[in-house]
Amino acid sequence: MNRRQAILTGLTSAGALLLSGCLKKAPPTYGNILRMGDDLTYLTQRSLLSQRALAMEYQKDDITSFPVTDIGDPADPASKNAYSKDYEQLQRNNFKDFTLTVEGCVAKPRKYSIDDLKKLGTRVQITRHTCEEGWSAIAEWTGVPLSAVLKDAGILPAARFVCLYGFDKYGESIDMLDAFHTQTILAHTMNGQEIPSRNGAPLRLRVETQLGYKNVKFLQRIVVTDKFTDPGPDIKSGWSWYTGI
């Protein structure tokens, strides 16, 4: 073996090691080539982009109208799959009895009322919602940083993903980089008022480094997991789990 061969062999095995290390972090593809492309985008964006950079924040004048394009109103029995009797009752009482459950890989699993959450901190941001369909909308969101909630619940070192479930039976999960991103908040206020019912009342996720459909509305439950979970499930229904693109 000459020197060139030795260097090549070394580089190849280093590359193979790196690759297998990366692949362990990637979401499952179920052998679908499109999902492999999604994973390539996810891993590349995670390794080439700054994970702390903030998404563009706008001025009050930039705020636009905001369409609601979800899977249905959880308070309306007519919207078959999204309907939740619990949610309908909570809404009737103006969400006074609402609590958010935080459980999984946390030292102190518990339920938070909106007032409990407001005590953990506040962040106000005017950001752009980017829908996979092609449209976008700008709004001002006020909420508690998800990182503050996770820290308060005593997130454990084993934690890898945060799964968020809505009353409309919609769910999404994000990795720790997005969960602890400064602009990732649980919003309770939109454009200076309580979030209008169809925009995700009383609490919704804002994750500004990903597309609109990651921003779970009508939040009910947060589960911190130590392995990849796809609550939606995005991947099995043919959608990309990571939507930073």
Partner: protein, 249 residues
């Protein structure tokens, strides 16, 4: 024009990497066109500025799916704490949306295009391909020559020399150094994660929706190029040209 020559002897000689890159880029470009059209169908409205949606005015709207002018919206509710006339409204219309595979196909094809494009760029510079084959010669810098070559394309006077013509060179340079970079960068500008790291993109293209509109027009120009390119290939000897770009030496 003599048409019945043996393709092997008369054909222009392309380097192997040019042929390889041309093949991969052609396939990914076709996949990008189809998936791009599918994506556009789910929201066939284009805007100018930072943001735009069905509740804000459009620049124009394309009649390319049932989503065109669907008007399926609940009543508008104003945001009471804003000074403007911003509203929210829920959609009641089930739209055409095949973006699950449409978007992922688009990005997968874009990966092939971008990686091959980088290889092509680097090789093009270092091999002298751009300098010798695509850059017009000094004696070609003449509006008269440009006009003559341009009008010749309409008169079936183009003759096969084994070298690129003046209009051909300029067109290829515009496609390689202007249209492809613009279409790729405006694509990046629509990504929330990329623009968080590189916010200058949003400034450079006047906002998220402007970038989307520029992306659309750049794609239309690229498609137009493809059509003219194919017509010219057919007119200047389809068999010979196709042979040259796939197997030829």
């Amino acid at each position: 024009m003599i048409k019945s020559q043996s393709p092997k002897t008369e054909a222009i000689s392309h380097k192997r990497w040019v042929k390889g890159a041309h093949f991969i880029i052609t396939l990914s470009f076709l996949a990008l066109m189809v998936s791009g059209y599918i994506i556009l169908m789910s929201h066939p409205r284009l805007y100018w500025g930072k943001a735009g949606n069905d509740l804000t005015p459009a620049l124009f709207e394309l009649p390319i799916s049932r989503n065109y002018h669907h008007n399926g919206w609940d009543k508008s509710i104003p945001f009471k704490n804003l000074n403007g006339r911003q509203v929210t409204a829920a959609r009641t219309f089930e739209i055409f949306n095949e973006n699950g595979w449409g978007r992922s196909t688009h990005f997968l094809a874009a990966w092939f295009l971008v990686i091959t494009g980088i290889v092509y760029f680097v090789s093009g510079f270092f091999s002298g391909h751009f300098r010798y084959n695509l850059t017009p010669r000094r004696r070609e810098f003449s509006l008269k020559l440009l006009w003559q070559d341009f009008t010749a394309h309409f008169h079936r006077q183009t003759h096969y020399t084994g070298k690129y013509g003046l209009v051909q060179k300029i067109t290829y340079l515009l496609v390689i150094f202007f249209l492809f970079p613009v279409v790729i960068l405006t694509g990046f500008t629509m990504s929330p994660a990329i623009t968080a790291s590189y916010p200058f993109l949003l400034k450079m293209f006047f906002g998220h929706q402007s970038a989307r509109t520029i992306h659309f027009f750049a794609a239309v120009l690229l498609l137009l190029f493809l059509l003219v390119h194919v017509v010219m290939i057919i007119r200047s000897g389809f068999k010979r040209n196709l042979w040259a770009i796939t197997f030829g030496k």
